[in-house]
């Protein structure tokens, strides 16, 4: 067991694992049925939204309840770009930048108040977003919503639509994940961590909590906007109800269940967000909300680190039973010991 754990930290093994994952991701859609490809593509969409939420909540410690609003905004911008026949690159850029600007403005006001003000202000975003989308009919199609067909597979690719959507969405999601991973491990990530742990210490080290909160929030809203673009690419339809408050709460729940302040946790969160309601709806739709609540509260009680911390918790439990001292929790940021263990 210990050797396997150490093996995980070997650089070449890690690289090999990543290559294997990428190859599997690339080959899979050619084999799977349509419904599976669509589900995986949706997981990619919401994994990006959850990742954004994780930047502001998990890494910076500011509770944010409005992520679905930025997803909706990104999707509406995308729909407008498609109907306005902008180039796809411009549409993507606008879908990322416009939510980013809105996020920046909201954060600049909300972050002025300490404590839970960001949570209390952002809870209003979806509540305002739904009637606003219904009102701005010219831009949103009102209550009817908007559809935009722009994700059919091009002829040269020889792919089916679902495969094409899968590749584009997973491709963008992988890039976003790689960039975010580097971001949170670098200088900015460390600054956000100190803002989360102790604002007074952050100030004394020359790190402005206000600026970093605003920055984290803006990045979260940009990722929300990108996930909105991906949402449009996968679903091709957006209506005001897609921005419902309940979805925002569920995104937050997904992030916590997956694992706060964890890249892999965000991915698990995306999968949770897509899969669990599908499962509970299949059993009994009235059980969906209650089961989401029970799962979230149960995770907070039993597994505060989310599902991503499960392997560590289990391996610690095993070591404890063997009588050895439990290992230190392995922070992602600590440099792994340079070892060349083999089996």
């Amino acid at each position: 067991m210990e050797q396997i754990l150490l093996l995980k930290e070997n650089r070449w093994v890690r690289l090999g694992l990543w290559v294997a994952v990428l190859v599997i991701l690339a080959v899979m859609p050619l084999q799977l049925p349509i419904i599976a490809n669509q589900t995986i593509a949706r997981i990619g969409v919401f994994a990006v939204a959850v990742l954004g939420l994780n930047i502001i909540m998990g890494y910076s410690g500011q509770v944010m309840l409005g992520q679905i609003f930025f997803l909706g905004l990104g999707a509406y911008v995308t729909a407008n770009g498609v109907t306005g026949e902008w180039s796809i690159a411009l549409t993507f850029l606008a879908a990322a930048v416009i939510p980013g600007i809105v996020g920046l403005v909201v954060a600049m006001a909300a972050a002025r108040l300490g404590g839970l003000a960001i949570a209390m202000v952002t809870i209003a975003l979806p509540i305002i977003g739904v009637p606003l989308a219904k009102r701005l009919e010219d831009l949103t199609g009102g209550s009817q919503g908007m559809s935009a067909r722009f994700s059919s597979a091009p002829e040269w690719s020889g792919l089916d639509n679902d495969q094409w959507q899968y590749y584009v969405i997973i491709g963008i999601a992988v890039v976003v994940y790689a960039l975010t991973r580097n971001f949170v491990r670098g200088k900015y990530g460390r600054a956000m961590a100190i803002v989360r742990t102790n604002e007074a210490v952050a100030v004394s080290m020359g790190v402005s909590p206000y600026r970093y909160k605003v920055m984290a929030f803006t990045i979260a809203s940009i990722l929300g906007g990108i996930s909105g673009f991906l949402y449009m690419f996968a679903v091709q339809f957006i209506s005001p109800e897609s921005m419902n408050f309940v979805h925002s709460i569920n995104l937050l729940a997904a992030m916590i269940v997956g694992g706060a302040a964890s890249i892999a946790g965000s991915l698990i969160g995306g999968a949770y967000y897509v899969m669990v309601p599908q499962l509970t709806n299949a059993i009994d739709p009235t059980l969906t909300a209650i089961s989401q609540g029970i799962i979230l509260v149960a995770v907070l009680f039993i597994l505060p680190g989310g599902l991503v911390s499960l392997p560590r918790v289990i391996s610690n439990a095993i070591r404890k039973r063997r009588g050895a001292a439990p290992s230190q929790p392995m922070e992602e940021t600590t440099s792994p010991p340079v070892t060349t263990h083999t089996e």
Binding site: M57, G61, Q62, V63, L65, A109, A110, R112, L113, G114, G115, L116, A117, A119, M120, V121, I123, A124, I127, I128, P131, L132, K134, R135, N198, E199, A200, V201, S204, F245, V246, I249, N250, L252, A253, I256, T286, L287, T288, A289, I290, S291, Q292, G293, I294, L296, V297, L300, F301, P304
Partner: protein, 293 residues
């Protein structure tokens, strides 16, 4: 003029309901330093409890009283079983727990009573009275008066009774309160119970207007939170004043500002909030907090 008076009184009655919820949030915040995002969902469950009691042929007023009592117990039990272990820890985790409870209670209401709108009878007659030419519903006046009476009663409780003194002591300094022999845990349960009872009143009074659904209080929660921020999170008077201002202004804006209208009036408290944050970031009645390392 007639329309104006009517709008102001209607606004006050809606504002009173936001005020009750805001007061519940402030009460929990004072006692435990957390913001209970589940306060609205708890109020919905309370309103459903009143609805269930009503269905047994009991008059409205008694049903609401029963719901208030049951909610008090429910609030106390929630504090003891679910919230207690997160009180000393990371405040963000505690907030997420209350968000979990929000989903949970909405889910419980939906699971037991379904998602269809249900009619809830009004405590007050549906007739209207004439005040200076304005047609004002008795319900609006009655709702406002009930909430004002409750606030006076709470003020008396906190200022004039030993229980109130103890509750205030716990909110100011739990450690010292415990050292002077106060049962801190039990007092926190009382605080949560009182907050849940207030929510029960708010839920039962707003239910006739909105009709009973599991998501009934989502919007009211947003108004109440806005009132709490505008009023300063630790100030009951501030929160209540802010809630009334919000209720009146949003009603006036809905009619006199065509761009806003009834569908977008939820935006009003947030315009207020943005303006306020630029001028007085600590809230109307709040005090600047100095943080030390």
């Amino acid at each position: 003029m007639a329309t104006f008076i009517q709008l102001v009184i209607d606004g006050l009655s809606l504002g009173s309901i936001y005020a009750a919820l805001a007061l519940a949030i402030v009460m929990v915040n004072q006692a435990t330093g957390m913001i209970n995002f589940a306060q609205g969902a708890m109020a919905v469950v309370s309103a459903y409890v009143a609805y269930a009691v009503l269905a047994r042929g009991i008059p409205v007023i008694l049903a609401i009283v029963a719901a208030v009592i049951i909610s008090f117990l429910l609030g106390a039990v929630i504090e003891r079983t679910l919230i207690r272990r997160f009180e000393q820890g990371d405040p963000d985790t505690a907030v997420v727990v209350t968000i979990g409870l929000l989903t949970l209670f909405t889910g419980v209401a939906g699971w037991i009573w379904g998602y269809n709108n249900r009619q809830f009878p009004s405590l007050f007659p549906l007739s209207t009275v004439d005040i200076m030419g304005a047609v004002v519903s008795i319900r609006a006046i009655g709702t406002t008066l009930v909430i004002v009476a409750i606030m006076v009663a709470l003020q008396l409780l906190f200022r004039m009774t030993k229980l109130g003194l103890a509750l205030r002591a716990v909110s100011v300094n739990p450690t010292s309160a415990a050292l002077s022999g106060l049962p801190v845990g039990r007092l926190l349960m009382v605080g949560w119970g009182l907050a849940a009872s207030l929510g029960a009143v708010a839920g039962s009074l707003i239910a006739p207007q909105l009709t009973l659904t599991p998501g009934m209080m989502d919007t009211a929660l947003v108004y109440a939170l806005a009132a709490v921020i505008i009023g300063g999170a630790k100030s009951p008077i501030g929160a209540v004043t802010a809630a009334w201002v919000i209720g009146v202004l949003e009603n006036l804006a809905a009619v006199y500002v065509p761009v806003i209208g009834y569908d977008l009036k939820v935006i009003v408290p947030f315009i207020l909030l943005f303006v306020l944050l630029l001028i007085r970031p600590q809230g109307l009645f709040g005090r600047r907090v100095v943080v030390r390392v």
